[in-house]
Protein backbone atom coordinates (compact mmCIF):
# COMPACT_ATOMS: atom_id res chain seq x y z
CA UNK A 1 0.00 0.00 0.00
CA UNK A 2 2.94 2.28 0.43
CA UNK A 3 5.54 3.45 -1.97
CA UNK A 4 8.08 3.04 0.83
CA UNK A 5 7.00 -0.34 2.00
CA UNK A 6 9.33 -1.93 4.53
CA UNK A 7 7.95 -5.44 4.06
CA UNK A 8 10.75 -6.51 1.80
CA UNK A 9 14.25 -6.14 3.08
CA UNK A 10 16.29 -6.98 -0.01
CA UNK A 11 16.41 -3.68 -1.86
CA UNK A 12 16.86 -1.57 1.24
CA UNK A 13 19.49 -3.61 3.08
CA UNK A 14 22.11 -0.96 2.36
CA UNK A 15 20.05 1.79 4.05
CA UNK A 16 21.42 3.30 7.20
CA UNK A 17 19.52 2.84 10.42
CA UNK A 18 18.28 6.45 10.52
CA UNK A 19 16.99 6.14 6.97
CA UNK A 20 15.13 3.01 7.94
CA UNK A 21 13.65 4.80 10.95
CA UNK A 22 12.36 7.57 8.70
CA UNK A 23 10.85 4.98 6.37
CA UNK A 24 9.02 3.31 9.24
CA UNK A 25 7.75 6.69 10.43
CA UNK A 26 6.48 7.56 6.97
CA UNK A 27 4.94 4.14 6.60
CA UNK A 28 2.99 4.48 9.88
CA UNK A 29 1.87 8.01 8.97
CA UNK A 30 0.72 6.73 5.61
CA UNK A 31 -1.08 3.77 7.17
CA UNK A 32 -3.05 6.02 9.52
CA UNK A 33 -4.45 7.95 6.57
CA UNK A 34 -7.21 6.80 4.32
CA UNK A 35 -6.16 5.70 0.83
CA UNK A 36 -7.77 5.76 -2.56
CA UNK A 37 -6.99 2.17 -3.48
CA UNK A 38 -7.24 -1.06 -1.51
CA UNK A 39 -3.64 -2.17 -1.27
CA UNK A 40 -2.79 -5.33 0.59
CA UNK A 41 1.00 -5.11 0.30
CA UNK A 42 3.69 -4.05 -2.11
CA UNK A 43 7.21 -5.23 -2.92
CA UNK A 44 10.09 -4.25 -5.11
CA UNK A 45 11.30 -6.65 -7.73
CA UNK A 46 14.98 -7.32 -7.05
CA UNK A 47 15.90 -7.80 -10.67
CA UNK A 48 14.04 -4.96 -12.38
CA UNK A 49 13.91 -2.67 -9.32
CA UNK A 50 10.24 -2.15 -10.05
CA UNK A 51 7.54 -1.74 -7.42
CA UNK A 52 4.63 -4.14 -7.45
CA UNK A 53 1.40 -3.41 -5.62
CA UNK A 54 -1.01 -6.18 -4.63
CA UNK A 55 -4.56 -5.01 -4.13
CA UNK A 56 -7.40 -3.55 -6.14
CA UNK A 57 -8.37 -0.03 -7.26
CA UNK A 58 -11.41 1.79 -5.90
CA UNK A 59 -13.67 4.31 -7.63
CA UNK A 60 -12.76 7.99 -7.41
CA UNK A 61 -15.69 10.40 -7.26
CA UNK A 62 -14.77 14.08 -7.53
CA UNK A 63 -16.86 17.22 -7.71
CA UNK A 64 -14.82 19.70 -9.72
CA UNK A 65 -17.19 21.80 -11.77
CA UNK A 66 -19.13 18.64 -12.51
CA UNK A 67 -19.11 15.07 -11.33
CA UNK A 68 -16.00 13.11 -12.27
CA UNK A 69 -15.92 9.37 -11.69
CA UNK A 70 -12.90 7.24 -12.57
CA UNK A 71 -10.86 4.35 -11.24
CA UNK A 72 -8.05 4.98 -8.79
CA UNK A 73 -5.84 2.83 -11.00
CA UNK A 74 -5.30 6.01 -13.06
CA UNK A 75 -3.11 7.34 -10.27
CA UNK A 76 -0.91 4.24 -10.31
CA UNK A 77 -0.80 4.19 -6.49
CA UNK A 78 -0.12 7.88 -6.27
CA UNK A 79 2.94 7.67 -8.49
CA UNK A 80 1.47 9.36 -11.55
CA UNK A 81 -0.87 12.20 -12.46
CA UNK A 82 -4.38 11.20 -13.51
CA UNK A 83 -5.85 12.97 -16.50
CA UNK A 84 -9.67 13.17 -16.54
CA UNK A 85 -11.68 15.36 -18.95
CA UNK A 86 -8.71 17.61 -19.54
CA UNK A 87 -8.05 18.12 -15.80
CA UNK A 88 -5.04 16.73 -14.00
CA UNK A 89 -5.16 15.33 -10.48
CA UNK A 90 -2.48 14.11 -8.16
CA UNK A 91 -2.61 12.34 -4.79
CA UNK A 92 -0.51 13.96 -2.11
CA UNK A 93 -0.72 12.59 1.46
CA UNK A 94 -3.95 10.74 0.70
CA UNK A 95 -5.61 13.89 -0.65
CA UNK A 96 -6.40 14.63 -4.26
CA UNK A 97 -5.23 17.97 -5.63
CA UNK A 98 -5.77 19.60 -8.97
CA UNK A 99 -2.51 20.00 -10.81
CA UNK A 100 -0.99 20.39 -14.28
CA UNK A 101 0.27 17.74 -16.67
CA UNK A 102 3.60 17.54 -14.85
CA UNK A 103 2.01 17.09 -11.46
CA UNK A 104 3.40 20.25 -9.91
CA UNK A 105 2.40 20.69 -6.27
CA UNK A 106 3.24 24.01 -4.68
CA UNK A 107 3.64 24.30 -0.91
CA UNK A 108 3.14 27.19 1.47
CA UNK A 109 5.51 28.05 4.29
CA UNK A 110 4.06 25.48 6.70
CA UNK A 111 4.52 22.79 4.01
CA UNK A 112 0.83 22.52 3.03
CA UNK A 113 -0.05 22.16 -0.64
CA UNK A 114 -1.61 25.31 -2.04
CA UNK A 115 -3.18 23.55 -5.02
CA UNK A 116 -6.98 23.45 -5.27
CA UNK A 117 -8.44 20.32 -3.66
CA UNK A 118 -11.70 19.32 -5.37
CA UNK A 119 -14.55 17.90 -3.25
CA UNK A 120 -13.66 14.26 -2.90
CA UNK A 121 -16.47 11.77 -2.42
CA UNK A 122 -14.41 8.79 -3.51
CA UNK A 123 -15.11 5.30 -2.28
CA UNK A 124 -11.81 5.16 -0.45
CA UNK A 125 -10.47 2.23 1.51
CA UNK A 126 -12.24 3.58 4.60
CA UNK A 127 -15.57 4.05 2.84
CA UNK A 128 -15.16 0.60 1.32
CA UNK A 129 -14.69 -0.94 4.78
CA UNK A 130 -17.62 1.08 6.16
CA UNK A 131 -19.80 -0.37 3.42
CA UNK A 132 -18.50 -3.90 4.05
CA UNK A 133 -19.17 -3.52 7.78
CA UNK A 134 -22.64 -2.13 7.11
CA UNK A 135 -23.51 -5.08 4.87
CA UNK A 136 -22.04 -7.55 7.34
CA UNK A 137 -23.99 -6.05 10.23
CA UNK A 138 -27.20 -5.88 8.24
CA UNK A 139 -27.12 -9.53 7.20
CA UNK A 140 -25.79 -10.77 10.53
CA UNK A 141 -28.46 -9.12 12.65
CA UNK A 142 -31.20 -9.68 10.13
CA UNK A 143 -30.46 -13.40 10.28
CA UNK A 144 -30.48 -13.19 14.07
CA UNK A 145 -33.89 -11.51 13.96
CA UNK A 146 -35.11 -14.23 11.61
CA UNK A 147 -33.78 -17.06 13.75
CA UNK A 148 -36.18 -16.11 16.56
CA UNK A 149 -39.17 -16.78 14.39
CA UNK A 150 -37.76 -20.02 13.02
CA UNK A 151 -36.56 -21.32 16.37
CA UNK A 152 -39.46 -20.60 18.74
CA UNK A 153 -38.04 -17.44 20.28
CA UNK A 154 -34.51 -18.73 20.82
CA UNK A 155 -31.53 -17.42 18.88
CA UNK A 156 -29.52 -19.85 16.80
CA UNK A 157 -26.07 -19.86 15.26
CA UNK A 158 -23.93 -16.73 15.63
CA UNK A 159 -26.89 -15.01 17.25
CA UNK A 160 -26.26 -17.01 20.39
CA UNK A 161 -23.04 -15.07 20.76
CA UNK A 162 -24.49 -11.66 19.92
CA UNK A 163 -27.77 -11.90 21.81
CA UNK A 164 -26.20 -11.63 25.29
CA UNK A 165 -24.29 -8.54 24.09
CA UNK A 166 -27.54 -6.99 22.89
CA UNK A 167 -29.26 -7.69 26.20
CA UNK A 168 -26.20 -6.37 28.04
CA UNK A 169 -26.40 -3.10 26.09
CA UNK A 170 -30.10 -2.92 26.85
CA UNK A 171 -29.87 -3.71 30.58
CA UNK A 172 -26.52 -2.29 31.66
CA UNK A 173 -26.02 0.56 29.25
CA UNK A 174 -29.42 1.81 28.09
CA UNK A 175 -31.69 1.07 31.05
CA UNK A 176 -28.96 1.86 33.59
CA UNK A 177 -28.24 5.32 32.13
CA UNK A 178 -31.47 6.40 30.47
CA UNK A 179 -34.07 4.73 32.62
CA UNK A 180 -36.76 2.13 32.18
CA UNK A 181 -39.28 4.52 30.68
CA UNK A 182 -37.33 6.16 27.88
CA UNK A 183 -34.53 3.80 26.85
CA UNK A 184 -36.43 2.20 24.00
CA UNK A 185 -36.16 5.01 21.47
CA UNK A 186 -32.37 5.16 21.91
CA UNK A 187 -31.78 1.41 21.59
CA UNK A 188 -31.39 1.23 17.78
CA UNK A 189 -28.69 3.89 17.82
CA UNK A 190 -26.82 2.43 20.79
CA UNK A 191 -26.82 -1.07 19.32
CA UNK A 192 -25.81 0.11 15.86
CA UNK A 193 -23.01 2.34 17.08
CA UNK A 194 -21.64 -0.32 19.44
CA UNK A 195 -21.39 -3.07 16.83
CA UNK A 196 -20.29 -0.65 14.13
CA UNK A 197 -17.35 0.62 16.17
CA UNK A 198 -16.48 -2.80 17.52
CA UNK A 199 -16.48 -4.49 14.10
CA UNK A 200 -14.45 -1.70 12.51
CA UNK A 201 -11.99 -1.76 15.42
CA UNK A 202 -11.61 -5.50 14.93
CA UNK A 203 -11.12 -5.09 11.17
CA UNK A 204 -8.37 -2.62 12.04
CA UNK A 205 -6.48 -5.45 13.75
CA UNK A 206 -6.59 -7.70 10.70
CA UNK A 207 -3.64 -7.75 8.29
CA UNK A 208 -5.81 -5.82 5.82
CA UNK A 209 -4.22 -2.74 7.35
CA UNK A 210 -7.26 -0.54 7.65
CA UNK A 211 -7.80 2.22 10.16
CA UNK A 212 -11.38 3.49 9.95
CA UNK A 213 -12.29 4.20 13.57
CA UNK A 214 -8.90 5.88 13.96
CA UNK A 215 -9.91 8.42 11.35
CA UNK A 216 -11.07 11.78 12.66
CA UNK A 217 -13.75 12.18 9.96
CA UNK A 218 -15.43 8.91 10.95
CA UNK A 219 -15.45 9.62 14.69
CA UNK A 220 -16.68 13.17 13.97
CA UNK A 221 -19.63 11.80 12.03
CA UNK A 222 -20.51 9.42 14.88
CA UNK A 223 -20.15 12.09 17.56
CA UNK A 224 -22.21 14.53 15.50
CA UNK A 225 -25.07 12.03 15.38
CA UNK A 226 -24.82 11.66 19.18
CA UNK A 227 -24.91 15.46 19.48
CA UNK A 228 -27.95 15.74 17.20
CA UNK A 229 -29.86 13.01 19.06
CA UNK A 230 -28.99 14.52 22.45
CA UNK A 231 -30.03 18.02 21.37
CA UNK A 232 -33.28 17.03 19.70
CA UNK A 233 -34.49 14.66 22.39
CA UNK A 234 -33.62 17.08 25.22
CA UNK A 235 -36.50 17.57 27.64
CA UNK A 236 -37.56 20.81 29.29
CA UNK A 237 -35.64 19.77 32.39
CA UNK A 238 -32.47 19.20 30.36
CA UNK A 239 -32.51 22.73 28.98
CA UNK A 240 -33.54 24.14 32.33
CA UNK A 241 -30.55 22.38 33.84
CA UNK A 242 -28.29 24.18 31.35
CA UNK A 243 -29.77 27.66 31.50
CA UNK A 244 -31.05 27.67 35.09
CA UNK A 245 -29.05 25.03 36.96
CA UNK A 246 -29.77 26.39 40.43
CA UNK A 247 -33.52 26.26 39.92
CA UNK A 248 -36.03 28.38 41.79
CA UNK A 249 -34.35 28.05 45.15
CA UNK A 250 -32.48 31.36 44.78
CA UNK A 251 -33.56 34.93 43.93
CA UNK A 252 -32.58 36.27 40.52
CA UNK A 253 -30.33 38.93 41.95
CA UNK A 254 -28.19 36.27 43.59
CA UNK A 255 -28.15 33.86 40.69
CA UNK A 256 -27.16 36.33 38.00
CA UNK A 257 -23.52 36.58 39.11
CA UNK A 258 -23.10 32.84 39.30
CA UNK A 259 -24.80 32.38 35.95
CA UNK A 260 -22.40 34.70 34.15
CA UNK A 261 -19.85 31.92 34.67
CA UNK A 262 -22.03 28.85 35.04
CA UNK A 263 -24.30 29.13 32.00
CA UNK A 264 -21.47 29.53 29.45
CA UNK A 265 -19.79 26.50 31.00
CA UNK A 266 -22.97 24.48 30.71
CA UNK A 267 -23.43 25.59 27.09
CA UNK A 268 -19.82 24.69 26.31
CA UNK A 269 -20.49 21.33 27.94
CA UNK A 270 -23.11 20.52 25.31
CA UNK A 271 -20.38 20.64 22.67
CA UNK A 272 -17.50 19.32 24.73
CA UNK A 273 -19.27 16.06 25.52
CA UNK A 274 -19.55 14.84 21.90
CA UNK A 275 -16.17 16.40 21.12
CA UNK A 276 -14.61 14.28 23.86
CA UNK A 277 -16.31 11.24 22.30
CA UNK A 278 -14.78 11.84 18.88
CA UNK A 279 -11.30 12.61 20.21
CA UNK A 280 -11.32 9.64 22.61
CA UNK A 281 -12.14 7.08 19.95
CA UNK A 282 -9.81 8.64 17.38
CA UNK A 283 -6.89 8.92 19.78
CA UNK A 284 -7.25 5.42 21.23
CA UNK A 285 -7.47 3.69 17.89
CA UNK A 286 -4.71 5.79 16.33
CA UNK A 287 -2.45 5.15 19.32
CA UNK A 288 -3.03 1.41 19.01
CA UNK A 289 -2.11 1.46 15.33
CA UNK A 290 0.95 3.63 15.94
CA UNK A 291 2.23 1.33 18.70
CA UNK A 292 1.65 -1.81 16.66
CA UNK A 293 3.15 -0.22 13.55
CA UNK A 294 6.21 0.96 15.48
CA UNK A 295 6.79 -2.45 17.05
CA UNK A 296 6.50 -4.16 13.68
CA UNK A 297 8.74 -1.45 12.21
CA UNK A 298 11.41 -2.36 14.76
CA UNK A 299 11.81 -5.68 12.99
CA UNK A 300 12.78 -3.74 9.87
CA UNK A 301 15.05 -1.36 11.78
CA UNK A 302 16.99 -4.03 13.72
CA UNK A 303 17.17 -6.54 10.90
CA UNK A 304 18.56 -9.24 13.14
CA UNK A 305 17.11 -12.31 14.82
CA UNK A 306 17.11 -11.06 18.40
CA UNK A 307 15.49 -7.68 17.73
CA UNK A 308 13.04 -9.19 15.30
CA UNK A 309 11.91 -11.90 17.67
CA UNK A 310 11.62 -9.46 20.53
CA UNK A 311 9.60 -7.01 18.45
CA UNK A 312 7.37 -9.77 17.23
CA UNK A 313 6.69 -10.93 20.80
CA UNK A 314 5.91 -7.40 21.91
CA UNK A 315 3.68 -6.75 18.90
CA UNK A 316 1.86 -9.98 19.62
CA UNK A 317 1.24 -8.97 23.25
CA UNK A 318 0.07 -5.50 22.20
CA UNK A 319 -2.23 -7.11 19.62
CA UNK A 320 -3.92 -9.08 22.37
CA UNK A 321 -4.39 -5.88 24.36
CA UNK A 322 -5.70 -4.16 21.23
CA UNK A 323 -8.40 -6.82 20.90
CA UNK A 324 -9.55 -5.80 24.36
CA UNK A 325 -9.22 -2.09 23.49
CA UNK A 326 -11.34 -2.64 20.36
CA UNK A 327 -14.19 -3.89 22.53
CA UNK A 328 -13.55 -1.41 25.32
CA UNK A 329 -13.62 1.65 23.07
CA UNK A 330 -16.88 0.52 21.48
CA UNK A 331 -18.27 0.01 24.98
CA UNK A 332 -17.08 3.42 26.21
CA UNK A 333 -18.46 5.24 23.20
CA UNK A 334 -21.85 3.53 23.60
CA UNK A 335 -21.83 3.98 27.37
CA UNK A 336 -21.09 7.71 27.19
CA UNK A 337 -23.61 8.23 24.40
CA UNK A 338 -26.21 6.53 26.59
CA UNK A 339 -25.19 8.71 29.52
CA UNK A 340 -25.66 11.88 27.43
CA UNK A 341 -29.02 10.61 26.22
CA UNK A 342 -29.85 9.97 29.86
CA UNK A 343 -29.09 13.61 30.70
CA UNK A 344 -31.14 14.78 27.74
CA UNK A 345 -34.20 12.69 28.50
CA UNK A 346 -34.24 13.07 32.25
CA UNK A 347 -37.22 14.56 33.98
CA UNK A 348 -36.85 16.46 37.17
CA UNK A 349 -37.53 13.93 39.90
CA UNK A 350 -34.64 11.92 38.52
CA UNK A 351 -32.18 14.75 37.97
CA UNK A 352 -30.51 14.48 41.37
CA UNK A 353 -29.49 10.87 40.85
CA UNK A 354 -27.09 11.85 38.07
CA UNK A 355 -25.23 14.57 39.89
CA UNK A 356 -22.56 12.20 41.12
CA UNK A 357 -22.01 10.80 37.66
CA UNK A 358 -21.28 14.20 36.16
CA UNK A 359 -18.58 14.71 38.75
CA UNK A 360 -16.52 11.69 37.77
CA UNK A 361 -16.58 12.28 34.02
Amino acid sequence: MSAKSPTKQGASSEDTRSERKQKVKDYIAHHLLDSHDFGLFSYTDEVTQQKHHVGFPLPIILWDGGLKVFSSSKFHHGETVAQVDGNYYKIEHAKIYKTDAKGTITYDTSNHPTNIAPLDFSITKGVFMILITAFLMFFLFKSLAKSYGANAGIASGAGRFFEPIITYIRDDIAIANIGEGKYKKYMPFLLTVFFFIWFLNMFGLTPLGINVTGNIAVTTALALIVFIITTFTGTKDYWKHIFDPLGDGMPWAGKIFIYIILVPIEILGIFIKPFALLIRLYANMTAGHVVLGSLLGLIYIFQNWIGGTLSFGLAFAISLIEILVALLQAYIFTMLAALYFGFASETHEHAEEHDGEIAHL
Binding site: L33, D34, I61, A94, K95, H112, L119, D120, F121, S122, I123, T124, G126, V127, I130, L131, A134, M137, F138, F141, K142, L144, A145, K146, Y148, G149, G153, I154, E163, I166, T167, R170, K184, M187, P188, F189, L191, T192, V193, F196, N215, I216, A217, V218, T220, A221, L222, L224, I225
Partner: protein, 166 residues
Amino acid sequence: MEKLINEFSVGLFFWQAVVFILLLFLLKKYAWGPILNSVNEREQGIKDALDAAQKAKLEMANLQADNEKLLQEARAERETMLKEARQIKASMIAGAKDEAQAEASKAIAGAQATIEAEKKAAVAELKQTVSSLSISIAEKIVKSELSNKDKQLELVESMLKDANVN
Protein backbone atom coordinates in the same frame (compact mmCIF):
# COMPACT_ATOMS: atom_id res chain seq x y z
CA MET B 1 -5.06 20.23 16.07
CA GLU B 2 -3.98 21.71 12.74
CA LYS B 3 -2.86 18.27 11.64
CA LEU B 4 -6.28 16.88 12.55
CA ILE B 5 -8.06 19.53 10.51
CA ASN B 6 -5.76 18.87 7.56
CA GLU B 7 -6.40 15.17 7.82
CA PHE B 8 -10.15 15.66 7.95
CA SER B 9 -11.64 14.16 4.83
CA VAL B 10 -15.03 15.59 3.87
CA GLY B 11 -15.74 12.64 1.60
CA LEU B 12 -15.14 10.08 4.32
CA PHE B 13 -17.25 12.14 6.74
CA PHE B 14 -20.05 12.31 4.19
CA TRP B 15 -20.00 8.60 3.43
CA GLN B 16 -19.72 7.63 7.10
CA ALA B 17 -22.72 9.79 8.01
CA VAL B 18 -24.85 8.58 5.09
CA VAL B 19 -23.98 4.91 5.45
CA PHE B 20 -24.35 4.95 9.22
CA ILE B 21 -27.75 6.67 9.21
CA LEU B 22 -28.96 4.34 6.46
CA LEU B 23 -27.66 1.34 8.41
CA LEU B 24 -29.31 2.67 11.57
CA PHE B 25 -32.73 2.83 9.96
CA LEU B 26 -32.39 -0.47 8.12
CA LEU B 27 -31.24 -2.28 11.25
CA LYS B 28 -33.95 -0.62 13.34
CA LYS B 29 -36.58 -1.93 10.97
CA TYR B 30 -35.21 -5.35 10.09
CA ALA B 31 -33.03 -6.32 13.05
CA TRP B 32 -33.16 -4.42 16.33
CA GLY B 33 -36.94 -4.14 16.41
CA PRO B 34 -37.65 -7.84 15.88
CA ILE B 35 -34.67 -8.91 18.03
CA LEU B 36 -35.64 -6.74 21.02
CA ASN B 37 -39.28 -7.75 20.64
CA SER B 38 -38.40 -11.44 20.64
CA VAL B 39 -36.08 -11.06 23.62
CA ASN B 40 -38.66 -9.04 25.54
CA GLU B 41 -41.40 -11.49 24.70
CA ARG B 42 -39.27 -14.39 25.84
CA GLU B 43 -38.33 -12.63 29.05
CA GLN B 44 -41.96 -11.75 29.66
CA GLY B 45 -42.85 -15.39 29.05
CA ILE B 46 -40.28 -16.57 31.58
CA LYS B 47 -41.46 -13.98 34.09
CA ASP B 48 -45.09 -14.99 33.61
CA ALA B 49 -44.23 -18.66 34.01
CA LEU B 50 -42.31 -17.93 37.20
CA ASP B 51 -45.18 -15.83 38.52
CA ALA B 52 -47.65 -18.59 37.69
CA ALA B 53 -45.46 -21.14 39.48
CA GLN B 54 -45.22 -18.85 42.51
CA LYS B 55 -48.98 -18.39 42.46
CA ALA B 56 -49.58 -22.12 42.20
CA LYS B 57 -47.23 -22.68 45.12
CA LEU B 58 -49.12 -20.11 47.16
CA GLU B 59 -52.44 -21.65 46.22
CA MET B 60 -51.12 -25.04 47.20
CA ALA B 61 -50.06 -23.70 50.57
CA ASN B 62 -53.45 -22.07 50.98
CA LEU B 63 -55.14 -25.32 50.10
CA GLN B 64 -53.03 -27.15 52.63
CA ALA B 65 -53.84 -24.57 55.27
CA ASP B 66 -57.51 -24.92 54.41
CA ASN B 67 -57.30 -28.66 54.75
CA GLU B 68 -55.56 -28.32 58.07
CA LYS B 69 -58.26 -25.91 59.20
CA LEU B 70 -61.04 -28.25 58.09
CA LEU B 71 -59.40 -31.13 59.91
CA GLN B 72 -59.05 -29.04 63.04
CA GLU B 73 -62.68 -28.01 62.83
CA ALA B 74 -63.80 -31.60 62.36
CA ARG B 75 -61.73 -32.62 65.34
CA ALA B 76 -63.21 -29.87 67.48
CA GLU B 77 -66.69 -30.85 66.38
CA ARG B 78 -66.09 -34.47 67.27
CA GLU B 79 -64.77 -33.34 70.61
CA THR B 80 -67.85 -31.28 71.37
CA MET B 81 -70.13 -34.08 70.16
CA LEU B 82 -68.42 -36.54 72.42
CA LYS B 83 -68.65 -34.11 75.27
CA GLU B 84 -72.33 -33.56 74.63
CA ALA B 85 -72.92 -37.29 74.44
CA ARG B 86 -71.15 -37.76 77.73
CA GLN B 87 -73.26 -35.05 79.29
CA ILE B 88 -76.45 -36.60 77.90
CA LYS B 89 -75.41 -39.97 79.22
CA ALA B 90 -74.74 -38.54 82.66
CA SER B 91 -77.99 -36.65 82.74
CA MET B 92 -79.91 -39.70 81.51
CA ILE B 93 -78.40 -41.88 84.18
CA ALA B 94 -79.13 -39.28 86.81
CA GLY B 95 -82.73 -38.92 85.54
CA ALA B 96 -83.25 -42.65 85.52
CA LYS B 97 -81.86 -42.90 89.01
CA ASP B 98 -84.23 -40.22 90.29
CA GLU B 99 -87.16 -41.77 88.52
CA ALA B 100 -86.35 -45.18 89.92
CA GLN B 101 -86.03 -43.77 93.40
CA ALA B 102 -89.39 -41.98 93.08
CA GLU B 103 -90.97 -45.13 91.70
CA ALA B 104 -89.49 -47.18 94.49
CA SER B 105 -90.61 -44.78 97.19
CA LYS B 106 -94.05 -44.71 95.57
CA ALA B 107 -94.17 -48.52 95.62
CA ILE B 108 -93.04 -48.55 99.23
CA ALA B 109 -95.68 -45.98 100.13
CA GLY B 110 -98.32 -48.10 98.31
CA ALA B 111 -97.16 -51.18 100.09
CA GLN B 112 -97.25 -49.44 103.43
CA ALA B 113 -100.82 -48.20 102.71
CA THR B 114 -101.88 -51.70 101.73
CA ILE B 115 -100.25 -53.10 104.82
CA GLU B 116 -102.07 -50.50 106.92
CA ALA B 117 -105.39 -51.29 105.28
CA GLU B 118 -104.79 -55.03 105.64
CA LYS B 119 -103.84 -54.48 109.24
CA LYS B 120 -107.05 -52.52 109.85
CA ALA B 121 -109.11 -55.15 108.07
CA ALA B 122 -107.37 -57.87 110.06
CA VAL B 123 -107.95 -55.99 113.29
CA ALA B 124 -111.63 -55.48 112.39
CA GLU B 125 -112.00 -59.16 111.53
CA LEU B 126 -110.23 -60.09 114.67
CA LYS B 127 -112.58 -57.86 116.65
CA GLN B 128 -115.57 -59.44 114.93
CA THR B 129 -114.27 -62.95 115.47
CA VAL B 130 -113.38 -62.14 119.05
CA SER B 131 -116.81 -60.59 119.65
CA SER B 132 -118.64 -63.46 118.01
CA LEU B 133 -116.45 -65.92 119.89
CA SER B 134 -117.02 -64.12 123.14
CA ILE B 135 -120.74 -63.99 122.34
CA SER B 136 -120.86 -67.68 121.66
CA ILE B 137 -118.86 -68.40 124.77
CA ALA B 138 -120.98 -66.02 126.73
CA GLU B 139 -124.09 -67.62 125.23
CA LYS B 140 -122.89 -71.03 126.30
CA ILE B 141 -122.06 -69.74 129.71
CA VAL B 142 -125.24 -67.75 129.97
CA LYS B 143 -127.26 -70.69 128.61
CA SER B 144 -125.91 -72.90 131.17
CA GLU B 145 -126.33 -70.31 133.87
CA LEU B 146 -129.57 -68.80 132.88
CA SER B 147 -132.49 -70.87 132.06
CA ASN B 148 -134.88 -68.05 132.34
CA LYS B 149 -135.28 -66.40 129.14
CA ASP B 150 -136.40 -63.11 130.37
CA LYS B 151 -133.56 -62.74 132.63
CA GLN B 152 -131.25 -63.68 129.89
CA LEU B 153 -132.49 -61.00 127.56
CA GLU B 154 -132.27 -58.43 130.31
CA LEU B 155 -128.77 -59.36 130.86
CA VAL B 156 -127.81 -59.32 127.21
CA GLU B 157 -129.34 -55.98 126.74
CA SER B 158 -127.47 -54.52 129.57
CA MET B 159 -124.35 -56.06 128.36
CA LEU B 160 -124.85 -54.79 124.83
CA LYS B 161 -125.46 -51.41 126.23
CA ASP B 162 -122.13 -51.60 127.92
CA ALA B 163 -120.52 -52.80 124.72
CA ASN B 164 -121.95 -49.99 122.63
CA VAL B 165 -120.90 -47.51 125.17
CA ASN B 166 -117.45 -48.88 124.74
